[in-house]
Symmetry: C2
Subunit: 278 residues, 2 copies
Amino acid sequence: MTTTTSSFRARFDAAAERHHSLLCVGLDPDPARIPAGVSTRDFLRAIVDATADVACCYKPNIAFFEPDLEEGMATLRDVIDAIHAHDLPVILDAKRGDIGNTAAAYARAAFESLGADAITLSPYLGLDSLEPFLAYEGKTAFLLCRTTNPGARDLQDLSIGEGAGAPAEPLYARVARLANTWNTRNNIGLVVGATYPREAAEIRAISPDLPFLMPGVGAQQAEIDEAVQGAMDARRAGIIVNASRAVLYPAAPDGRWADASRKAAEDLRDAINTARGA
Amino acid sequence: MTTTTSSFRARFDAAAERHHSLLCVGLDPDPARIPAGVSTRDFLRAIVDATADVACCYKPNIAFFEPDLEEGMATLRDVIDAIHAHDLPVILDAKRGDIGNTAAAYARAAFESLGADAITLSPYLGLDSLEPFLAYEGKTAFLLCRTTNPGARDLQDLSIGEGAGAPAEPLYARVARLANTWNTRNNIGLVVGATYPREAAEIRAISPDLPFLMPGVGAQQAEIDEAVQGAMDARRAGIIVNASRAVLYPAAPDGRWADASRKAAEDLRDAINTARGA
């Protein structure tokens, strides 16, 4: 139960094996859905404590903390400490993307001030906007590749012409191909929505070795089978399957919401393992 | 000197006319360059007070406040209040981009908790990721189109095939074309780097009516002429030219740094006006 300074990879690999789980729990606190009379901080701490031996990591999305400004940042830092107390890694979902010295400030906020082990980034500004994050030893950056939302098609599905040794392909495929070449320190992953299993399989063919962070997984075994089987790597791993609302806000008619969250996490962990045959 | 609730457009248009200025001052506080013994908050307040009748708006970049967590958010909110006390609009440079309910949380943080009048956004996730921002009446969203950094070419310059009534063109041009169609509420602008005047002129031809936020302007009149003349609209306006470090950290051998910042801002305001012939 000590906070180690191991790398994201080491911490993640150990947790995935120890808990036999590729489930990441997304922490998107919504005041309207948190049980009455419970603070956001206490709610998230209780969820972490209830699910810590079922998950392989946690993904707080900083957007849900920002509206509370000072209090939000204090809560986020506190929750990250609570996750580290279980020796589990934290992916800060921030989707940042800015130029040189600005990117360096974002990296300092995420990795030093908040203590996250990994972060999500937008690739729109190119490699030099990612460098300040990639330069941190032991940290990992997950680049947005193909997202779960309908609007993903507006840019990500645009067809890029052949060039520089790459075939004609959608923008998301080109991002995966660029990520391979940018991954010289073995600390890049991709965000690949579980809602588009065909695209996920296509991206896996391009990037056989990059870890995928997969949000948007459904509750049905058939959906999970399809998403996981197309995206897992040759070792039946290489995926981190994220569920947020399904774990945070399951029905709990008896009022035992933390137990209900644990049960939802267990069911998802098992469904993911069934899907990958592990 | 009261804080009004007017729209970004109304507040901006009034300030640009009142001050005969299209200069936006970027607020990127760097502790290593702030005069010794002066707090970030006092420094930024002094810069705002010294330049308020020379600028048309301010652009704090939230990245430079995030490493200080609680204190950073308090400082940012305080600086935004100081800008509003001069009845000037605030563009929060945040480059956010996330799906539906997450984007809504970011919009709430920027427009409600912090009180910004406009924001910069990444277009990578498509229209539905922008909608929660565009739905705010009176606010404006500037979409990253062609950025100033060398890595901009990695994705933004990729060649998109012909389709859906659009010609084959670079991704940044397609973003401008999409922005035109998404601009149904007249509250979208584009971020177009001043460092690439050829691309800026090309984007102006595609989007004759969208306001451009232009970072990266140099100190030389010839550079400013080239950037401004390619990007300005038919009314010799439609551009907001941002300078950050040139105004915040000019040489001040006599120690009168606020006066030096004012002088730097005046020179840039004049150079921009000379360039556009106004």
